[in-house]
Structures are given as structure tokens and as C-alpha cells.
Symmetry: C2
Subunit: 219 residues, 2 copies
Amino acid sequence: MEISAYFPIWDRLTKQQQEKLSDSAVRRDIEKGTVLHNGSMDCLGLLLVCSGQLRACIYSEEGREITIYRLFERDICLFSASCMMRSIQFEVTIEAEKATQLWIIPAQVYQEVMAESAPLANYTNEIMASRFSDVMWLIEQVLWKSFDKRLAAFLLEEAAIEGTSRLKITHEMIANHLGSAREVVTRMLRYFQSEGMVRLSRGTVEIMDPEQLTSLCEN
Amino acid sequence: MEISAYFPIWDRLTKQQQEKLSDSAVRRDIEKGTVLHNGSMDCLGLLLVCSGQLRACIYSEEGREITIYRLFERDICLFSASCMMRSIQFEVTIEAEKATQLWIIPAQVYQEVMAESAPLANYTNEIMASRFSDVMWLIEQVLWKSFDKRLAAFLLEEAAIEGTSRLKITHEMIANHLGSAREVVTRMLRYFQSEGMVRLSRGTVEIMDPEQLTSLCEN
């Protein structure tokens, strides 16, 4: 498995730049649940996902959390290398949501290549703009959307990612994704169940009526 | 007033790139209150602020609003040229908060220079990271901070920007900055007044005890 097969715009780098990146990149197999990066850890480097799934989240001082975006195959995580840009003045936690294979590219090497490569710098702009869009979507959700709509959208998104309507997820986990409290999630899921939209059992939420959940999100 | 005096990293562009930018840039005097850009308007171009003050905000479908960041002298507004990057999948409204002098650089020209200039692409990354940091700060405020702390922080920030403790601002305007409702602002300001932190009169909020407001933000 070569980094060249996963790294976007590889062909637009010079031979020398390609060698610099591939010589310094390290392959890692990450177990599900591993915290790869957080505010108090060293600058890990950029993560290039080969397979699996990562999530980026933020924590409050009181330990509440919310998922801000997810990363899948061929995605690059910039914020595990926040030391790379002085204007990145925030800290996210990066966690493996599934067993994940990835390349780690040292921040300094990436920064050096980016300083001389307009294609890589422009591509990095697109990555940042894409994450920015995720966060703008989230802020609109948090500000203007009621919790029932956010929960319905989350369940539908999970079902799409997992390819199943039978989600193995606890109410606590859902609360942590949505920046809410477990009791709030439980109350809303019970309401969804009473309306026939989901069926609840221990550690499982099964979607029974995706159309109704969809129309809930849209109204 | 030359664009070269305001454009950051001007010296790191080639003569040709400098000419391309300065030939296409247009100087404009903008009246206070003008909406320069919103989702339904054409791609205006990048805004380089010479003097004055802009604010970027988002609106809900119901017409509620919140300020996401502000731009001052020598700041560049990227999101009035969101057509420039396909990964920018959100719309902000840009409004002149004060009479503002600025340069407008056509999106296509900027994009062409950025495509070949690693320094400009890297600088654009820094701008985006800086706005991203503003929005991450905001999301943490909205998610985890109570409204009294957010209001106290806003009043102190306004006083710093305006250089006065006597702020000419209505409760409605404060609500629009903070994504809240006028009644909520009025109630909290009256509480601040009863604690001796501010004094209220028509269209004015005067900060009487900045230390107490500061300690409110920090606790």
C-alpha cells in the first residue's frame, strides 16, 4: 500500500516533493477508540486515512463533547498538525471511531513542501474550506435547529455511514456526538419510538420509518 | 492610496502578479449599513479593508442572525468570493458596520494568481485558519457558555473596539450580534445594571465596572 495511491494531487507534486513526503510518512494501524490527538499532546502530524473512520470533536471544561466532523478514506486531517499554521488557534480531539489504517506525515515536512508547492497549498486550502463548511453547518444546527431535527438527521446519517438501519449505539454515545445530555437523548428517542419512527432495545436503535424521520428533518 | 500598501505579502509576489492584482482591483467607499454580500448575490470578489469595519454574519430561515467575525484594516474577506473555492459550501452575509474604504479584487484574478503563487496560497491558508479559529471560538461560546458570560464578553469587546465605555448600541443590535432575542438581552442588561456593572439609557449601554464584567466572563 503506497502513499501515492492515497494522497490526492500526488501527480501535481515534483519527484523531489513526492520523495520527501513518502520518505518521512509512517504507516500506522490504529485501534478503535484510540485518541490520536488532543490539545495537550504534541503536534502529531497530518493524518492521511487509508481505511477506517476518525472523528474530530471538542470538549467543554465540564467534559461535555460534540462531534464536529468525521474523516473517511483518502481524507486528510490537518488539525492534528495545528502547530503547522500559527493562525490555527483552537484545539480539536481526534479519535478513531473504527479500526483505522493511516499514514502520518510529519508537520514540518508537509509545511516545507507546501511552502514551495502552489498545488499543495491550494489543495490544503480546499481541505480547510471543506472542514470550515462542516463547522458552519454545525453552528447553524446548534443555533437554529431544534433537538428533534438534529437527532433525526444524526440517526439517518449514521444509518447511511454504517449501511444498516439497526444502529449499535448507546444514548450516551449519541449525546456525545450531538453535544447534549444522555437524558435528553433518551427522552427524545422514546418520543420517536412512540411515533413509530424507531425501535429501542439495549445498545441498539433501529430505524423503522426513515421517511418520517426525513420529513421531520426537513420541516 | 496604493493597494501595495495594504495587501499583505505584496513583496513576495512577482512583478507580473502584482500588476495583475493592482490592474484589476477597484477602490470603493462603502456607506455604513451597506450589505456587500449575501447568499443570493453574485460572487463579489475579495475585499481588502483599507479603513472602517465589516462584519460577517449568518441568518436563520426565520430571520434571526449572529455575528461570526469582524474585519478591520488590512484584513481580507475571502467569503465574499466563495465562488473561488468549490469546498466553501456555506454563505455568509458581509455588512459594513462603519463607513468603510476597501479594495475589491475579482475572484477569478485572485484565484489565477493563487494557483501559481505558493506564497499567496499559503497566506490564504492562514486567513482561512484565522476565520476558522473565530468560528470555533463562537461554537464553543454558543455550546458551553451561559448567556451572561457571552453578553459580558461582547460588551467588553465593543468597548475595546470603540475605545469608549459608553456604547451607542440598542438591545436589538446586541441580540443580532449574539444570535439571541431582544427581550433576553434586555433582561440580562437590567440584571447587570442592578449589580452596578452597567448603566442603561436610551440607545446607550455604559460600562460602570469593567473588572466585575471581566471576572464574570472568566468564571
